[in-house]
Subunit: 459 residues, 2 copies
C-alpha cells in the first residue's frame, strides 16, 4: 500500500493533475493489448526526467513497484503492474525535440506516437523504418523498451538499429545519457543496447536519439496467392536467392485468408492456402525490375493470382488485407493468444506444419500469419472458452511450440518481448548461466527490484 | 609468473605445438598496431571453445591475466598484454563453418580474416559491409570484440549491426550461446551487443553468427578536390540533404593530400585543401543518377576537379589515394598518434579548425583524414621525436581535442575502442555512474579480473 504521506510527496512533485488514484482511472491503466489485468495503486504522468528521478528515489526508499508505460499496446504484459505500485505513464512527455536534417537524427521524448513521428519525418524526405502493427498508438519509448519490430525489419532492421543514444533515469534516481548523435561510438560497454529491449526493467527512457535514413524514392506492392504453403515458401526462398530483399514480405495461411474475407470482403481467392504480401522499395527503375522478377518467380511456383498495385488506392487495398487479419481473428474469437515465435526463414514451412499438428493434437484452432521474410510467425490460438481444459490444452500447445522453435534455432519472442507471459519459458531459450548473468545485471541497475518487477524473470 | 605446473597443464590441454614461451615468440605477440609493447609470459593457440574453457578455469583459479588476440591490428592497445599473462591467440580457429544462402547468415570462427570472408561471400552475390582499414589482416572475432567500423558504415552500419549471435566462453569457463540465426529476437537482455565492443574484457568469442545482405548491383566512385575544407563540407551536407546516402564519403586535408602525392605520385591537385572520395552503390540506373547529382553539387561548391571512375582500374586508383594516407603519413613520421574521434557530421569542419588551432598551440604537425560521412576523424599527430616536451605537448593536445569532441556531442572513439590508450579519458565521455555500472558488469562476468585486465577502465 502506498501511504498517504508518499502520495502527498508525489503530488507535490508532479502537480495534482498528474496523479490519479480513483478506481475508474486505475482500471484504465491495468491493461495492455493482452487479455490480462492487474490494477496499479496509483497512476502518474511525469513531465521531466527530474520528476522521474525524484519519484524513483522515493519508490526505491519505500520499495514501491514502478511500471513504466507508453501506449499500452504491448503483447507480453510488459506494462501491466502485476505487483501493484505505480503505473508511470510517459504519454505526456511527447515532444519531438529536434529533427536534424544535416545529421539525419532526431531527438524525441518517449511518449511520441510512432506513426505520427514517421509521418512527420517522411514529409521531410526522411525515413524511420520500424513499423510495429500498433504504431498508430504505440510510443517510441515503448518501442525502444521492447525493441519493437514490424514488417519493414526484414530489409531495415529493428528498433535497436535506429537508436543512437538514450537519456535514462536509473531505478536509483540517477539520470544518465548514453550513446550520442553519431553512428560510430565505442566508448565502453554498449549500455544503449542493453537498455533497448530490457522491457522497462533497467531504467526509464526519457529521451531517445534516433537515426533516420533517406526516404526510398518509390515502392511497388503486390499480393500473390498460392494453393499450398510450400509454393509460397519456395517463392520466398527464390526471391532471397535472387538477391532481392523486399521491404516487406508478409504472409497469411488459409485460416487467416478466410477470416479476412469474411470480415472485409476484399475478394481474396478462397481456394488459396497461402498469401504473400510483397513490397519492394528504392529507386523507381530498380523497384520495377525487382517486382517483375518477383512476378516471374511466383509464376514458376504456380501462383493462383498475382496482383500488383498501380495506384495508392490499390496499394491501400492490398495492405487492408494484411491489417484486417488481427481484427478478423479477434471477431472469430476475442479470447485469442497472439504468438510471436521466430525461426530462420527457411524453416517457416516446417514450423507451420508443426502448428497444424499441434492444432489437431490439442484440439485448438490456430491461424498463422506474420513476417515470412524474417521467419517471425504471429500464430494465433483462437480459444473457444476459458474452461480449465481449454486453458490446459493451450498451455501445452504453447509449450510444444516453444520447444520446437528452440530446436529449430529460433527464438520464443521476435518482437513482443518476454514480459510476464513468457517468463516461465525463458529457461527454454537460455541456459541457466545466461539467465543468471541477466539477473545480476538487473540487480546492478535496480538493487531493490522496484522497476517493473516480475517481468522477464521468474522469481 | 606462470608456474611450470600450470604450463604443463596448459600444454596437456593444447598440445605442445600450440603453446609458445620462447623469448622471440613472446616478442612477436607483444605488439599491436600502436607503438606500444608489453610481453606476455606465454602465447597460446587454442582450437576449440572447450580448450578455452579449460584454460580460463585454470587462469581464473591461478589469477593469471588472459588477453584475447586476433590479427593484432588494433589501434588502442586492446590486445596488448599490459599485465603479462597469456596471449590467447585465436588465429587458428579460422574456419567459415557455414554460409546459409537461404537465411543470409554465416557462422564463422573468430580467426577468419575479414577481407577473405568478404571476398568469399561476394562471390555468392552476398555482402558483409564492415570494412575496417586493417581488413586484410584483421579477424572477424577482433572486429566483433572492438565493434569495428570502416568507410561503408555511413550507409551500412557497424559490425554490431551484422552480428546476430555469438558463442562466448566466459572468464569463469562457462560456454554460452547468445542470440540466434534470426534478425528479430527479444529474449531477455541483449547480451550479444554487450559483448560486441567490450574489447575482450567480458568473454572470449568463439563463434559468430553474421547477417549478410544482397551484394549491391553496381557502384560508382568519384574523387573531388576543393580549395577549402568549407566547400567540401558544404558538399557533404548538400549530398545528405539531397537524400543521397553514399556507401562511402571519405576525406583528406591538405597535409594528407601532399603526403599522399609525395608518397605515391597519383597526380592529386596540390592546390587542394580538401579532397572527397565518394562512392554510391545500388541499382545501376540509381547510382548513375546519384553520381550526376553529386557532381552538380560539387560544381556548385567550386570543385577544382571531379573525376569519376569508369573502369575497375580507375576505381582502384581513386581508392589508392585513400589507402595511401596512412603509409604516407607513417613515412613522414613513424612516431605518429593515430586518432579516432567522432562528431556529428555537420560539425566536422569546426572540429578540423580546432585541430588546426591545437596544432599551432602545441607546435605539432597534424594531418586530418577520415570518414566525412559519419564525422569520424582519423587525425594523425606526427611526432618528430619522443622527447618529454614533445610527449607532454601531444598529451595536452589530445586532452584539448577530447574535451572539444565531448562538447560537440561526439565520442572519443568511433572505431578503435578505449583499450588502454584512452582509458584515462573515459571519464571525459561518461559520467561516474555510467563507468560504475560498466565496472559492475565487468565484475559479474569476470569476478577475478583475469580477462584482458587493465583495459577500458583505469583502476
Amino acid at each position: 500500500m502506498i501511504s498517504k504521506t508518499v502520495k502527498n510527496k508525489l503530488r507535490a512533485i508532479l502537480g495534482k493533475e498528474n496523479l490519479l488514484d480513483e478506481k475508474e482511472d486505475l482500471i484504465c491503466y491495468s491493461y495492455d493489448a493482452t487479455t490480462f489485468q492487474f490494477k496499479p495503486e496509483l497512476v502518474i504522468f511525469p513531465k521531466t526526467p527530474e520528476q522521474i528521478s525524484e519519484i524513483l528515489k522515493i519508490a526505491n526508499q519505500e520499495k514501491i513497484p514502478v511500471v513504466p508505460r507508453g501506449g499500452g499496446t504491448g503483447l507480453s504484459g510488459g506494462s501491466i503492474p502485476i505487483l501493484g505500485g505505480m503505473a508511470l505513464v510517459l504519454t505526456r512527455m511527447n515532444k519531438i525535440l529536434e529533427i536534424d536534417q544535416e545529421n539525419l537524427t532526431a531527438l524525441v521524448e518517449p511518449g511520441v506516437i510512432t506513426e505520427e513521428f514517421k509521418i512527420i519525418v517522411e514529409k521531410l524526405g526522411l525515413f524511420y523504418p520500424p513499423d510495429p502493427a500498433s504504431m498508430k498508438m504505440s510510443t517510441l519509448g515503448g518501442n525502444a523498451a521492447e525493441c519493437a519490430g514490424g514488417p519493414h525489419c526484414l530489409k531495415y532492421g529493428v528498433t535497436r538499429d535506429y537508436v543512437l543514444g538514450l537519456e535514462v533515469v536509473l531505478p536509483t534516481g540517477e539520470i544518465i545519457k548514453i550513446g550520442s548523435k553519431v553512428i560510430k561510438n565505442v566508448t565502453g560497454y554498449d549500455l544503449t543496447r542493453l537498455i533497448i529491449g530490457s522491457e522497462g526493467t533497467l531504467g526509464v527512457i526519457t529521451k531517445i536519439i534516433l537515426k533516420l535514413i533517406p526516404l526510398p524514392e518509390n515502392f511497388k506492392t503486390a499480393i500473390a496467392s498460392f494453393f499450398t504453403m510450400e509454393d509460397a515458401a519456395k517463392c520466398v526462398s527464390k526471391i532471397i536467392q535472387a538477391r532481392i530483399l523486399p521491404s516487406t514480405l508478409e504472409f497469411m495461411d488459409h485460416f487467416s485468408i478466410k477470416a479476412v474475407e469474411e470480415y472485409s470482403h476484399l475478394g481474396l481467392p478462397q481456394e488459396a492456402h497461402a498469401l504473400l504480401l510483397i513490397e519492394v522499395d528504392g529507386e523507381d527503375t530498380a523497384t520495377k525490375i525487382q517486382l517483375n522478377k518477383i512476378k516471374e518467380i511466383c509464376k514458376e511456383e504456380n501462383v493462383i493470382e498475382f496482383k500488383s498495385a498501380s495506384t495508392f488506392e490499390e496499394r491501400e487495398k492490398i495492405w487492408e488485407a494484411r491489417r484486417a487479419v488481427s481484427p478478423a481473428l479477434g471477431k472469430i474469437s476475442p479470447l485469442r493468444l497472439n504468438e510471436d515465435v521466430v525461426v530462420p526463414r527457411n524453416k517457416l514451412t516446417e514450423l507451420i506444419k508443426e502448428t497444424q499438428s499441434i492444432s489437431k493434437q490439442y484440439n485448438l484452432e490456430i491461424a498463422n500469419f506474420g513476417h515470412a521474410g524474417d521467419g517471425n510467425l504471429h500464430l494465433n490460438i483462437l480459444l473457444k472458452s476459458r474452461t480449465p481444459q481449454v486453458m490446459k490444452n493451450a498451455e501445452e500447445a504453447l509449450n510444444a511450440l516453444y520447444l520446437k522453435v528452440i530446436q529449430m534455432q529460433g527464438a520464443i519472442s521476435g518482437e513482443h518481448g518476454i514480459g510476464f507471459l513468457k517468463s516461465k519459458y525463458l529457461s527454454y531459450a537460455l541456459k541457466e548461466e545466461q539467465i543468471l548473468l541477466m539477473k545480476k545485471i538487473k540487480t546492478i541497475f535496480d538493487p531493490n527490484n522496484i522497476l517493473n518487477p516480475g517481468k522477464i524473470f521468474v522469481d
